[in-house]
Symmetry: D2
Subunit: 346 residues, 4 copies
């Protein structure tokens, strides 16, 4: 068993899912239009519209997550508006100030296991709009959430509906960062892509972390795309000349429900891992995540053994004897790998 | 012969060169680091350093051309500086204001078949630095040129050396946009990658138009990369999580001199096309381009026949009877295709 | 006569017109609201509305000209739009890239003695909107002109109407930089403040160069001010806490037609200077300016004598023997000063 | 006594201090250079250098506070850096996102009666620099504090020295917003202008709230002004053509120690008010402020009586029966006014 080593460091250190790669190969020789007008991209957009159950949806393909957040938020915010989010939000912490680079304030509210609470948001909004000096402050324009969150947690359908209603009340837009959307939808009990499409003003369907080599699909489910979107995207340096490279991949991802089955597989393996860690090894979850990112409180004395067989990330120290660690399954994790871990650790 | 149709519309409406695609497939299953630290990217960087004959060069992989120009120019310009270029320069015309979006003025000088003349530049600089109000004007920081230009033309080694010397004299940086660099190097009589690396402060080696699915390689040949480059790139939304997607492709492109032979093939076919058009069909060149972009003055009466067999772009009307058209070969064009055109048109 | 020296270097090297200063003193002790809600500002806005004959006009007070251009253009442009102007326009040459700092391209067209020609503009617009790649280019959003121009010249009413019509045809906004508006209106034969207010979407009435210590009045004559203007202005750092400092001055400037009579006086003196230079000294005008900025071609041999009695600016060399020089009258120039020049030079 | 009404709403709803206004009048007729090269500005800069005991200091005059913060922070930050401050900081709350407009993140830490604690800052910095993902986060570049704070409180000399040392340790710059500096220096037991000049990398001396019509003086005490500062300031729209309007006022403010005596007078009156409110009326301070901004917890039943005689601002509700209110003295408040209040309320 000495040469077993299972990679659970992250969901973006593989190439593409074989299904995606195969489609890139099959379509490679065909000549197409550029800048998103190729028939692969058009077909991928149709498949996404159908999956969202919003036939009027507008879909755009971009290369990466930070780019997508910064570009789309800048496009849907008025120049004087800011974006509200949890303080753990990717745009607030790990995007090197890309949103601020476009001139907008990120307004961070307290987070609850990665989630923005409707209550906190409601209090903040009431306070902002009651403030006589509000015109001297950054006006809120968009609420940004991640699904699943950076902590692997999920909003329930009711929580999403409540956020949506609050946004309507205050004329804010709801934007969902779906970098790991496949895993979120697979794990959720009541949130579906059609529901998300109904409630969000814009969101993106993650490709990079969900089986593609690169690429994210931005959806304006109600067709409410800002005017001159191609110019806007190009101005942000985010328009791919050979945009089909993303279109082809999303055509594969959204054929035959593949995006969803791939997500389910990763979540299934995450749950197997969870049983192993919690029931057999007695580790406590650091965060109670139902998705492909799993966080456990590991006794420091166990770390060397774990490190021998598993690649994972240290999240943060808990106390002198325990460390929180993150274990991430993906489309590339296999049942056989979890079998091996069970053999070793049971 | 009815079903012959040769695509010469552009060099970015195919997938990837088979050699590149094969390498993507071969490497797909390997787990690697992210954000450019994977060993494919490291190896690709080494191959590029060797090809440039600058072992201290710093190399970064980005997704597309406009993104690269806007990001890198913003990184090497001081905030109060602008970028000088020919008025036909891609950054001045066809990037939707992406450079201005980062806060910098594009200062356009007259172009000569797509080229910036050292004389015009020298006059402008002398005039700027003699102007008592210069501090109220945008200070020049970088000279931007394309190699080959948007018109397919090339600077000679002497012209590049003169621009370089002028930049030194005025403490400006020289930046070269090499979106089609493979074709430029293949066609040039005296400009080599090592020479470019010696003279430029930064340049990029085009992938998207030169055989890759996507991606450009930015080179700081003298190792003079600005501090905290990863943060700067991420702030522009230009850092790919799975950056290896570009690294793998450049590893293929720079193995065994492939980038150069691929460029030579496309230029060879462009020259065959040129002989057909000029010597046999008697068309006058609209611009005298030695590279893969060819421009001819076509009698309008010939357009329908040409359109039957060739995909190409109308560039601009010349007069009532003639139209300038662009024909672009690429790595995807074959000798057999030009053979067929010769058969039809000779 | 040895100690006579007349300052004609510029119109912004004095303090304020005594009428303006007196009003600052008279009103100094009164307590008021801040941020533009003081009654002096409100009254000044009313006076401006009346002078413009546009009672629904919105008026805002800012501190200086470059700030005003950059702030207001950014507010009325869509993010992906640029501003069209003559290549000699202040925003293109002498504002250190302040417009580009806000993310917008300045698109410079040829100038004709400082003016943008309707013909050039029309050709450019036709060409832009016919271009199939237009979405990859910066979309025009605003036409910027100066009245009077940087060369002291004036658009006629017909020229303004033609520009206005062209803007309507192409759904562009017309913005007028009136840094020296008092002198322009005084010199024009047919352009009045009401006409300007009818034709422009936004313009500013210059204070700094027209009798104030500082300050410019921005007018949206048709009440078409962008939403949340106070927030927008503050975001640009252009909101004065004690905004009344500008309001009080404009109250003085727009009481009893003072702004217009002050302009007329400076233009009258410029015309006396012109007669002296052209008719008596035989100098040729470098530009035929009817306003307070006068440009003459001076024999180099005469420069020392002129310099003994007059402060002025060298504009540019004409040839080996002649130099173009600028002489500027202002509200601070007096009939007595021109009398003295006549005595010396006649 | 019916017509007594004392204005304590703010320190920027008057004109200028008579001493300042007089100097504007005295100097009005003199012709000077523009853009800060006039001899009034040069003399004012010298006076400020002497008051700071830093003869190599560089001084620039800008029009207002938000403009100054946004412009100077953008000039001293690297593009990828953010600014650390207390969450109550003016730049975080009441500048409409002007710092973010320039592309920089404002990183807010907890505040303690308006102050940033050295301990919080130290913890944050240690955590940031220990974070393996730091390069994906906004790098801290400047620590921003206000002196006095928005709550009227003051850092002690020891606290400033500790912040300074921490900045040195982490190679951060220390920037002090001195919008109300006159009142802060007057109230502090141990912080002097020379001490501030020794510890800060840049700060501004407030004019608008401290006796001027408008204008702030930016000081780089160690001469460490960024290159091409005039171009940088102009690019931000912050360069006044007739910059002398601020220079003249600061010449008056810094002659004969006037800035300091004016501050002392306002603080003296604030302390008289405090005794009246605390000792005679029994109101508890809401915040223990030693400067010209005073905050008290007022029983709601007393509000009508107070409102009859005093103009003040409601700060926030405390509970059902009490409201926190702000009372601001300034150079315009007089001993006679406080005498009258004492007569009424004692």
């Amino acid at each position: 068993m000495a040469d077993i080593f299972i990679h659970l460091e992250s969901d973006y250190n593989n190439g593409a899912h074989p299904v995606v790669l195969r489609h890139l190969c099959e379509t490679n020789d065909e000549r197409t239009q550029s800048y998103g007008d190729d028939h692969f991209s058009l077909q991928a957009k149709n498949l996404i519209r159908q999956a969202c159950q919003q036939l009027q949806a507008e879909v755009w393909f971009l290369a990466g997550g930070t780019q997508t957040n910064a570009t789309i938020l800048d496009c849907i915010l008025q120049p004087y508006e800011g974006v509200l989010c949890a303080d753990t939000a990717h745009i607030n912490v790990h995007e090197a100030g890309a949103v601020e680079f476009t001139g907008h304030k990120v307004i961070a509210l307290p987070s609850h296991e990665g989630k923005l609470s409707c209550n906190d948001l409601s209090l903040w909004l009431r306070s902002y709009f009651a403030d006589e000096t509000a015109e001297h402050m950054v006006r809120p324009g968009v609420v940004y959430i991640t699904f699943p969150t950076e902590m692997g947690t999920l909003y329930t359908a009711d929580e999403l509906r409540a956020l949506h209603r609050l946004c309507l009340d205050y004329q804010l837009k709801l934007y969902v960062d779906g970098a790991r959307l496949a895993y979120g939808l697979a794990a959720s009990e009541d949130v579906t892509l059609p529901l998300l499409s109904e409630l969000a003003d814009a969101f993106y369907i993650g490709g990079t972390k969900c089986g593609a080599l690169c690429g994210e699909a931005v959806v304006f489910p109600h067709g409410n795309v800002p005017a001159h979107m191609l110019s806007r995207i190009k101005r942000h340096g985010a328009l791919l000349a050979k945009s089909r490279v993303v279109g082809v991949q999303f055509e594969a991802l959204f054929s035959d429900g593949f995006y969803f089955s791939m997500g389910k597989s990763a979540v299934h393996l995450a749950m197997r891992l969870r049983r192993l860690f919690v029931e057999h090894l007695g580790y406590a979850p650091f965060i109670d995540s139902p998705t492909n990112q799993q966080f456990y409180i590991i006794p420091n004395k166990d770390l060397p053994t774990l490190r021998r067989y598993i690649g994972f990330e240290v999240w943060c120290p808990v106390d002198a004897d325990y460390t929180a660690c993150r274990f991430v399954t993906s489309w590339a994790t296999t049942d056989a790998e979890i079998d091996q871990l069970e053999e070793i650790f049971k």
